[in-house]
Amino acid sequence: MISSYKTLNRVLVAGTAIAIALLYLFPLFARTTNNPSYYLQIVSVALCSAILTISLNICMGYGGLMSLMHTGLQMMGGYAVAILTLNHHWNGWLALVMAIVVGAVFAVLVILLSLRATYLYFGMITLAVNLIAMEAIRQGGSFTGGYNGLIGVMAPGITTTMMTPQAFYVFLLTILIGVYVIQRNLVFSGFGRNTMALRESPETATALGISPNVHRVKIFAVSGALAGLAGGLLSMQLGYAMSEIGDLGSGLIFFVGLFLGGISTLAGPIIGVAVVATIAFLIRGTAQYNTLVLGGLLLLCMVVLPRGVVGMYRYSRFGSPHVREFDQAEIDSFQLDISVKDVVKNQILLESHDLAKHFGGIHAVDGVSIVFRSGEVHGIIGPNGSGKSTLISCLTGYYPLTAGSVEILGNPAPKKPFLISRLGVTRVFQIPHLFERESVLDNVLTGMYRRDRYSIFDAIFRTPRYRKANARSTEEARALLALAGLLNQQDLTAGSISHGQKRLLEVVRAVATQPKILILDEPATGLRQDELDVLKGLISRLAKEGMSVVLIEHNVDFLMNLADIVTVIESGKVIAEGTPMEVQKNEKVLDAYLGRTDFSKELA
């Protein structure tokens, strides 16, 4: 199985290399056909489309932001080039750079205006913006050439005034490969992981210290920049800029390509565009039936290949990643320092005073004062609905307080969850909030967000700074995985590992944020005994290293063995606090948990 996987992998790598080589040689091949310039043209245009589709993939696939304005961005990139070279006689290369700038700036403006809008509404804003941009171009008079557009755009030259179509083709192909690499670097970087984290679960991402808005702006800016580039290149290939380029109807190919190839996959946009361009080429003779055939094929593809070509492959036996076997020596060789810095033993890290949270008339949390100390495992128990999770949400800034106060490291707690997270308070949710489509290793790396000290440019171009930081993070993440016995699974997608492993992974990811306080909401639910043992060992180790571990748990057996102190909550109030033994014998606690024994009369 594994060997067949490796063979296939080699075949794929070799196939890709051959495909790239063939693509570079395509102009020579085209020359042997009866219509060289035409074949060069359609492949060149497809290359531009692939760049735009990658941009769309970054935005919709990885960023989860629905954009109906990418055709508009493409149009604007084209006009940037056309206006600068034709009206202002700029150098073509500089004009291309400006196309990138125009795309990025426009995208940033749009998203800054619409940060509050979510999902569908954001999509509608982009649609509106697209219409506005097209209308503005049409009304632009001689500046934009109005309805007629600007004709006569030329490819830039190196030694001559203008590249030959063959040279420009090679240039386009190189750019596409570059854009693919940028996409890959972005996706595999901390920035990319965080973006996907945000898409999959804004809540968890926030808990890991990621600021949603800053990320959305950045991802949209990158996407806009690439769309501007694609538009600039297209205008050079076609020789003109026209408002119709911005029409959503003409942009169908991008959406179709994205879904056919596989959204949220790296190669999906390129393969998808290749498929669509081929289909368009093959059915070009159907004339009046053109859109009918296209629409029909599209629906058919969605039914047969609902995840797209690459997506289906990824989900297949061959395409999904496999367990990597590490031997014990390798596992032992990892060096890991997880001691909590700047903290003394038994220091008060977080405390609340008379904290209350009311939802309408319901007093979910009703005057709770609680103290978490370093090096301590603090259990919180209570029947369902007693207010434990609400309490945690209050402590970590997810709910505004009705009354009372929270102090972290002696200072009043900030209001935003991601700011609290950045002070060293990391929360693991009750329901698994893993980024299921990302690998186990990537999930842990996402947790290292706060440590990443490189910019988005470092990530895109893989600067030494990025490489160094990334190597260090990866090493550390592996060490953490080794600690939880998950090293062999590092390449698997988080969605494919067992339930118990997922819970462990979540804890590991939280530890990766280097918290001072780690809050675990029912981590033991559904774990097998051996997994429980690993979890127990991990938690003890963390406490020993000086961390304050807060444990909300129903598996009291598990908790009682581990906790230094247990707080019992019922109906939003603390009803008991003490060592596990004390609490277990407390009658009030038994009543709260099991109900009273003397109901029979009252029930009658």
Partner: protein, 288 residues
């Protein structure tokens, strides 16, 4: 300001409101904004053209054919959209599925009718002259139908069991199932009734608005704008949004000139969403 301008805005606004309303019908249980919805409008116009215009059928007979064919289209559309959406699992799959459906229907209309704009006799030939404004009775009919349809749908949602179950499915699919509500059937019914509604709108409006075989997407976008401004999923919002962009377009156009009309509606859409991210009557939309 000239009364004519307001009347025109009201009329065109009621066309958009009807489209937005039918989108709401589909959106309620599915959370899908159907890019193919406008094709139902074209279907209504095409049936009116063929039956009343060419074959000279009486209106009731044409209406019967209309409802039957619209039901069939709604059923087919449900399959075309929901099947890929359910299989895909990607939250953006609906965009492609509904666009593909729109493309297919548009091509089908274009094959026999490429040269045609679906105009035919107005049901009432007279024109009302109200304070100097000339209004085709047909336009008043469309407006009346819109009011009727909006009230009917609002009441249907509120007062009938099926309407309530549509709202229930929208709120919680699982809970609806354990109450015995056939949720998949509800979705089919929504597609079918939404298509019948919009086809009726096209049927009534075609004599007084130019509908061409490929106009579907244009009307869809207008309906979208109306629905979004009003707040997706709310019948009240659909009506308010439709009338608003209709009147805005008409008034701005007459005072600032042609292109500013379209510009103003799109600007209004963008501005409203920036200020009120969920539209006027909308609730927070949770992504599927």
């Amino acid at each position: 300001m000239d009364l004519q301008i307001w009347v025109e805005g009201l009329y065109i606004g009621s066309v958009y409101a009807l489209i937005a309303l039918s989108m709401t019908v589909v959106y309620q249980p599915t959370r899908i904004m159907n890019f193919a919805q406008g094709e139902g409008f074209v279907l209504g116009a095409a049936i009116g053209y063929q039956t009343i215009g060419v074959w000279h059928w009486p209106v009731w007979q044409a209406g019967a054919a209309l409802i039957l064919l619209a039901m069939a289209m709604g059923y087919v559309m449900e399959r075309m959209v929901m099947l890929p959406v359910q299989l895909s699992g990607n939250r953006f799959a609906w965009i492609i599925a509904t666009l593909a459906a729109a493309l297919i229907f548009q091509s089908l209309f274009n094959l026999p009718y490429a040269n045609v704009t679906f105009g035919y006799f107005e049901f009432f030939k007279t024109r009302a002259n109200i304070f100097g404004a000339h209004i085709a009775m047909q336009k008043i009919l469309v407006f009346t139908f819109m009011v009727f349809a909006a009230v009917f749908y609002d009441q249907l949602l509120k007062r009938t069991l099926w309407g309530r179950s549509i709202r229930a499915v929208a709120h919680n699919n699982d809970t609806s199932i354990i109450l015995g509500i056939p949720t998949k059937l509800v979705i089919k019914v929504a597609f079918i009734s939404g298509t019948v509604l919009i086809a009726c709108a096209g049927f009534l409006a075609a004599p007084v608005i130019i509908v061409a075989p490929a106009s579907g997407l244009f009307f869809t976008i207008q309906g979208f704008t109306a629905a979004i401004i009003g707040g997706v999923g709310s019948p009240k919002g659909a009506v308010a949004g439709g009338l608003m962009i209709g009147i805005l377009d008409s008034v701005v156009r007459s005072s600032l000139g042609g292109t500013w009309g379209v510009f103003s509606t799109v600007m209004a859409l963008a501005l409203i969403l920036v200020v009120r991210p969920n539209g006027f009557f909308g609730k927070r939309v949770v992504g599927r």
